[in-house]
């Protein structure tokens, strides 16, 4: 477990390039563009150390927290630290407990969106609630920001996510905060 703000900042500049879908009418292309500039890979694609620094492991693109990395409790941080992430940036510890980034790929067994309709996906980002009406999505998912996309943009993101390569990866349940 490390405190990785510099890592985050550098990772943000190491996103996969060539996403230039401005003006395109293809929802999938536009979705790819939005996913890239929206920094979705920062948390939903495991970070690995590369020769030129940290970057997303695109062989596991958007598959969430790797199931083989076991996190069994919160970070237990000394003051004034409040939150921490593991080196993949897929598990976060804070006052909410421990959250794990979701598997956004269309894997029929482990993908979180496998039961989502397009409408539910849009509403999830609008309301911050699972399937638009259920449990709250945990921090640090920036849904208040992402939820300000237009309907068409959110639908494009959904269209893109539905056709990326599926990755079988069962993300663990969140861990409640210590009482």
């Amino acid at each position: 477990m490390k405190y990785l703000l510099p890592f985050i900042v550098s990772a943000a500049f190491c996103m996969p390039g060539s996403a230039t879908a401005q003006g395109t009418q293809d929802p999938v292309k536009r979705g790819e563009y939005l996913v890239t500039i929206g920094l979705c890979h920062d948390c939903h694609t495991p970070m690995i150390m590369k020769q030129d620094g940290p970057g997303p492991d695109m062989t596991r693109a958007l598959s969430g927290h790797p199931q083989d990395i076991v996190v069994d409790g919160p970070a237990g941080l000394p003051k004034p630290w409040a939150a921490a992430a593991i080196s993949t940036l897929t598990a976060w510890s804070g006052p909410w407990g421990v959250s794990f980034s979701a598997n956004l790929t269309p894997d029929p067994e482990t993908g979180v969106l496998r039961d989502f309709t397009e409408q539910q996906f849009v509403q999830t980002l609008r309301t911050g609630r699972h399937q638009g009406q259920g449990r709250q999505i945990l921090p640090p998912m920036p849904w208040p920001l992402i939820g300000q996309m237009t309907d068409d943009d959110l639908k494009s993101v959904f269209a893109y996510l539905r056709q990326i390569p599926p990755v079988k990866n069962k993300v663990p349940d969140p861990i409640p905060p210590v009482q």
Partner: protein, 362 residues
């Protein structure tokens, strides 16, 4: 940034501390409303027209008080409710499961804890057909009520152990109210039936109008006379009350016509399908276990085994990832938990229904 701090706080049920600040910084989030409401509500409750005399808080006598027979659990809040229809208008009840309210319809619901008014929620149907959502927070001296922030307000009334009543934001209002075909939830045929369920949890005395009066006064038109005394078809008193509770507390999201219909859990009682609640729960496999659900809870309701019933575990929890309903409540409804446990222990009666879902007609 403040929004991030508030959200982080929601996930820590007991102790208060300031650690969320750094979490917010790491999260790199921005605050803001996901769906700004385009129509602006009045700034005060007084401006909504609830009262004929605000100085004495005398409610306008033209408004109609009502009390649903299966009230929504809000952590023990005492509630009062009123509806106002514009003069000369009526509700279209030709679809008995989804009434259509005229433009200008207004509804209020007042919430009190420990005898003190805390908030009053407001719905108004605008000319474009949309409903306006607002909540008003009562001042400490209970003399004024001002519009609550669009994102809601925590800490409106303390329950102890770090929990408190939350005044919902507009998005959370819509999460429930836009979950089925009618955005008005507690003002419906079953909820206003003259034949009230004496075993309903937290049953309130019948007050004001009911379905029969609405029809007699011409305020509800097109509603089939044959359905004017609706009653839940049930094998026992406990089952009737349990299904009614699930209707009033869960059915606004879990129904056959709303955005969550693909979940396949139908707890809203409808005239179109009166067996859906039992058929979609009793012996029905869980579609996807929720975080915190025990591994042996593989059925939504395990006949005779409430402890292994997923529905029971979720209703009896207030861990945010597991609890049901997922919003609007901080405290377990122990009376309802007791009722649901009794009902689930009654087992054999439902075997026929499971095999022949449409076999029982009221």
């Amino acid at each position: 940034m403040q929004g991030v701090l508030e959200r982080a706080e929601r996930f820590r049920p007991a102790r208060r501390h300031r650690l969320a600040a750094a979490a917010a910084a790491l999260a790199l989030l921005a605050s803001g409303n996901a769906i700004p409401q385009t129509i602006k509500p009045p700034q005060t409750l007084q401006q909504t027209g609830l009262y004929a005399d605000f100085a004495t808080l005398r409610v306008d006598p033209d408004h109609l008080a009502f009390a649903p027979q299966y009230p929504l659990w809000t952590d023990g809040a005492a509630k009062r409710r009123w509806i106002s229809l514009p003069p000369g208008t009526s509700i279209d009840g030709s679809d008995p499961d989804a009434w259509v309210f005229p433009t200008g319809t207004r509804l209020w619901k007042e919430f009190s804890f420990a005898g003190e008014r805390i908030e009053t929620r407001y719905l108004e149907r605008k000319a474009d057909g949309q409903w306006l959502y607002a909540a008003y927070v009562w001042s400490a001296d209970r003399r004024e009520a001002a519009l609550a922030p669009e994102r809601g307000q925590r800490g409106a009334f303390p329950f102890g152990n770090g929990r408190s009543h939350t005044i919902p934001g507009v998005n959370d209002c819509k999460a429930c109210h836009q979950g089925s075909r009618s955005e008005v939830l507690g003002f419906s045929a079953l909820q206003l039936s003259p034949e009230r369920d004496p075993d309903a949890p937290h049953a309130e005395a019948a007050s004001g109008i009911d379905l029969r009066v609405l029809i007699e006064k011409g305020l509800l038109v097109g509603f089939p006379q044959s359905l004017a005394q609706p009653r839940i078809a049930a094998a026992s008193a406990a089952e009737r009350a349990a299904l009614g509770y699930l209707h009033g507390n869960c059915g606004h999201c879990h129904n056959e016509s709303g955005p969550l219909s693909n979940v396949g859990l139908f707890l809203r009682q409808t005239f179109a399908n009166r067996q859906a609640a039992i058929a979609s729960t009793w012996g029905h496999p869980v579609k996807r276990p929720a975080p915190g659900q025990s591994p042996d809870a593989v059925l939504r309701i395990a006949p005779a085994h409430p402890e292994r019933s997923a529905l029971m575990q979720r209703v009896a929890s207030r861990y945010p990832a597991l609890q049901m309903p997922p919003l609007g409540t901080e405290l377990v409804d122990q009376e309802a938990v007791g009722l649901l446990r009794r009902w689930i222990r009654e087992t054999e009666e439902h075997e026929e229904i499971i095999s022949q879902p449409k076999g029982r007609v009221p």
